[in-house]
């Protein structure tokens, strides 16, 4: 069935603790029984902290009874949770008690198994290897990759910088790198937010608040819809936000750019755009308007599968809504990283909003600011010298440079120039790009270190695995959040450390730095850092600890002209930065149509494989949690979606096992036969197909999306192009 999964089952010999790790992911009945006394009465303590189940990091109140977590509630004061909490937020808390957690440092043996090692030994050996790489290949040969969380954003970056390298990368190349890069090239910021609560018409492109869930976003959407906001969903799949939509446009995947260009065409041709805004706040309009004449709704119809009439009507409705019409900003959705045109799709989203003149208008596209800590005491928190340019920026110059493209790690390791890599809170080798490519690249490196709470697939490829304690057992640095009201949220320790040999990430980084000879940059505790950062913005540490969230600064004010952080200091229909950048391979200053990399040939039985989130999971991280995986199992959520008409042609019935295959991978999964999917696509949730045997809950459930996606990088931008994969499907005969 799944050859790679089987062949990777080489792990763990020896120690008793590792045997216990193997034992089982099942929370034992007795442990639940012992906690059932918590069901009634009072006698609990509450701790305000933040969730760690996804990047939102919502504020939560942890209810602790007798030292054990009873339950969580959303923190009313937090802008993302507003008193509520999603399933993964509740469920992921159980990671603290998971039998699958890492409990001691591990070192990889020659045969691929792991043995326990003391922290001191681990630090010493890692330190020696880091120093050897620094001496031989220089600091540029080191990199760090993470799923950013408050501590990571500070400590991971500081650690790699302290070593003299700028090679700090996040998961964003498989998330929203195309989008944030495209936005920077049009309006100068990495994102905006649609003011849905006050909009008349909102067009969602590939994004679903009901699936990639942030509680306050979906609450706002629900409320807006009740108040009359019209919602149009553009998505090959009728996603779980469908209940809010008055119209579903099941677009052919990869053609969102065509739809947006055609909408722009109509807005310009019918003079439905905001001429005043365009004249005063933008550059390059005339040139783009000339380009747009090509992109008629009839042209777009053939690509998108959406009728010219529907496109024209939508454009006219947007035009009529004016600044209260908005194309929602997206996140990963359809143009965060998926296609070899996502960067231009993002620019087109921004450009259509510009035509509507909705920037910073009530019901439009808002550019809000995020507060940040001011400079700290240099003595206590010495600044780290700036290193050379981050790897990947030269090859992918249009990227949002903050988070970089982690795919360069694979490329440079493969080329032999990158020698050492640290992973923190990241399952990069499973979820960021083709796992085989990661595996091959990492095999060529001298040092791979993973810091995590569980034995991820990435940990399996590393020489050293350092166990962090769970987010409920640790404090982190403050999390500064932007929005209509800026604020800071705090993560505070809710539970005593459960496994004595685990450590907090700040301690791990400080001690690692010491071992690598750069400990001087880490002579402070996490709490000291937090206090200093908070003090710099006038917030009391104790107040934050009590409330979990404290507002900072003035609320957002409508109708202020945005500060366009572009070279021209205007909204750019034609990008000056792109015009000035030499050696680009794909993108041009004008926002033009770009063909996706691949296109399914129905005659050959090909489908485009597309993936998406489910609201109960985050990346692959939560598939180790029994409370969440039991939902997956009970409702067969790992199934691959196939259009009902196509399924009938292939003799596939709902629940049948199907083989999904391409040149890279073949997997077997049950089919979800549905009318809710564009017939050219197969949709799978991107969380599944776990191949780490230690993560007993997710192991072998479903098929792994990234195994099907060839390792490739969006030219000029650096995204993983996760939907540029074709598959064929057949029913598995019983």
């Amino acid at each position: 069935m799944n050859k790679q999964i089987v062949s990777r089952r080489t792990f763990l010999t020896g120690s008793a603790a590792t045997a216990a790790l193997m034992a089982s992911g099942m929370v034992t009945l007795s442990s639940w029984l012992s906690s059932s006394a918590h069901a009634e009465g009072t006698g609990y303590e509450t701790v305000a902290t933040t969730c760690n189940a996804c990047t939102n990091k919502c504020g939560v109140i942890a209810y602790v009874k007798d030292g054990r977590l009873w339950k969580l509630k959303g923190n009313e004061a937090h802008p993302y949770s507003k008193g509520t909490l999603c399933a993964r937020g509740h469920g992921y808390s159980q990671i603290a008690y998971s039998a699958d957690r890492l409990t001691e440092p591990l070192k990889r043996n020659e045969d691929g198994s792991y043995s326990a090692i003391s922290w001191e030994e681990a630090y010493r050996e890692i330190g020696e290897k880091v120093k050897a790489i620094l001496a031989k290949d220089g600091p540029e040969a080191l990199a760090i990759v993470e799923d950013p969380r408050p501590n990571g954003k500070y400590y991971s970056k500081r650690f790699i910088n302290a070593l003299g390298s700028s090679n700090y990368y996040t998961h964003n190349a498989t998330c929203n790198l195309s989008l944030s890069s495209g936005y920077q090239m049009t309006f100068g910021s990495a994102n905006f937010s649609a003011d849905i609560a006050s909009s008349k018409l909102v067009v969602f492109i590939g994004r679903s608040y009901g699936d990639g869930l942030r509680p306050s976003s979906v609450a706002t959407l629900a409320k807006a819809v009740k108040n009359g906001t019209k919602v149009v969903l553009v998505d090959p799949r009728l996603n779980n936000s469908g209940v809010f939509a008055s119209q579903w446009l099941p677009i052919n995947p990869g053609t969102d750019l065509a739809l947006l260009l055609a909408i722009a065409h109509v807005l310009v041709a019918e003079e439905l755009y905001d001429k005043d805004f365009v004249a005063k706040q933008t550059t390059g309009f005339d040139e783009w308007a000339a380009e747009l004449t090509k992109y008629t709704p009839e042209w777009a119809e053939t690509l998108t599968g959406i009728s010219a009439e529907t496109i024209t009507n939508l454009a006219k409705e947007l035009g009529a809504a004016g600044s209260k019409g908005v194309i929602e900003q997206g996140w990963r959705g359809a143009f965060g990283c998926q296609y070899r045109n996502s960067f231009n799709a993002a620019r087109a989203v921004a450009a259509v909003n510009a035509l509507l003149g909705n920037w910073n208008k009530k019901g439009g596209a808002l550019i809000t600011s995020t507060p940040k800590a001011e400079a700290l005491d240099e003595e206590k928190f010495p600044a780290v010298p700036k290193g050379p340019q981050k790897l990947g920026i030269a090859e992918y110059p249009l990227q949002n440079q903050d988070n970089g493209t982690n795919l360069i790690v694979v490329k440079k390791a493969d080329e032999g120039t990158l020698k050492g890599v640290f992973f923190y809170n990241s399952n990069a080798a499973k979820a960021y790009a083709n796992p085989q490519a990661w595996q091959d690249a990492l095999a060529k490196m001298d040092l791979k270190v993973c810091i995590d709470v569980q034995m991820s697939e990435t940990a399996h490829l590393c020489d050293y695995v350092l166990p962090e304690c769970s987010y409920l057992e640790r404090e982190e640095v403050p999390d500064f959040l932007g929005g209509k009201q800026g604020c800071v949220a705090g993560r505070f320790q809710a539970l005593e450390k459960i496994h004595p040999e685990t450590k907090t990430s700040d301690a791990i980084y400080a001690e690692l730095a010491e071992a690598c000879g750069v400990g001087a940059y880490f002579k402070f505790s996490c709490e000291e850092l937090s206090r200093a950062q908070l003090k710099s913005v006038g917030v009391s540490y104790d107040e934050l600890k009590e409330k979990g969230v404290v507002d900072i600064g003035e609320p957002f004010a409508y109708d202020k002209v945005p500060k366009w952080k572009t070279p021209s200091e205007k909204f750019e229909f034609v990008s000056q930065k792109i015009a000035e950048t030499k050696g680009l391979k794909l993108y041009e200053p004008l926002i033009k149509w770009v063909e996706p990399k691949v296109s399914p040939d129905p005659g050959k039985g090909e489908f485009r494989l597309i993936g998406g989130k489910q609201s109960i999971h985050s990346h692959t991280m939560t598939t180790s949690v029994e409370a969440l995986m039991s939902i997956t199992r009970e409702y067969a959520l790992e199934r691959a979606w196939i259009n009902a008409g196509k399924a009938a042609e292939l003799g596939i019935e709902d629940g049948d096992e199907i083989e999904v295959s391409n040149e890279l991978f073949t997997g077997i999964v049950r089919a979800h036969v549905t009318e809710r999917l564009n017939p050219t696509a197969i949709w799978i949730p991107t969380h599944y197909g776990g191949s780490s045997p230690e993560l007993t809950q997710g192991f072998g459930v479903g098929i792994p999306h990234m195994e099907y996606v060839p390792f490739d990088i969006e030219p000029d931008v650096g995204s993983a192009m996760t939907h540029e994969a074709l598959v064929t499907v057949r029913k598995v005969s019983s």
């Binding site: 639940w32 909490l85 509740h90 009318e675």
Partner: protein
């Protein structure tokens, strides 16, 4: 009189399962046991499709089959209209489970006793209960309150949305659905 009921607005439900997991934690249930389950309905044909998620749990019926079949009187309706199980009387015969048309009851695997949603009646601070499913619902698709109070949020919402029990006429359920 106080008569507690709930409203679930499926036109706001994104099927996120938050209520299930919150309920499990509130009640310290094991991961595979839940007081809330879900039905998914898909209607229409591509591309004119509508999908609906319907959370189901004890409907706190006035005409409760579980109570009428319970041989030991363990299942009962309290004075506020909430259907409860007196675990001290439950023999675990599961007759109530077969009788519940909503399949809303589960058996505690450790004790054999039968349990189900109780509207969080013993809410932690002793105040008027706000069930954990209502508390955590990210779209505010659930309203809990007194059906006998015409001014309550739930009473007004039931009238405003013409909410009805999921199976009108079946058991006089006190959970009302907007669909």
């Amino acid at each position: 009189m106080t008569r507690y009921g709930m409203l679930i607005d499926t036109t706001r439900c994104v099927g996120c399962f938050a209520c299930r997991v919150a309920c499990q934690m509130q009640n310290s249930l094991p991961p595979h046991d839940s007081y809330i389950r879900y039905e998914e309905l898909e209607s229409g044909t591509y591309p004119d499709v509508y999908a609906e998620q319907i959370p189901l749990q004890c409907q706190h019926c006035e005409d409760a089959p579980c109570v009428s079949v319970c041989p030991t009187g363990a299942s009962y309706i309290n004075k506020e209209g909430i259907v409860l199980v007196d675990k001290e009387r439950c023999i675990g015969c599961k007759y109530c489970m077969t009788a519940c048309p909503y399949n809303a009851r589960i058996q505690d695997h450790a004790t054999g006793e039968v349990e189900k949603c109780r509207f969080c009646v013993w809410h932690d601070d002793g105040s008027v209960p706000k069930p954990s499913c209502v508390d955590t619902c990210v779209t505010n698709a659930r309203i809990f309150g007194d059906l006998d109070d015409p001014e309550s949020e739930i009473s007004r919402a039931i009238i405003a949305h013409n909410a009805k029990p999921i199976a009108p006429g079946l058991t006089k359920a006190k959970i009302y659905y907007v669909r």
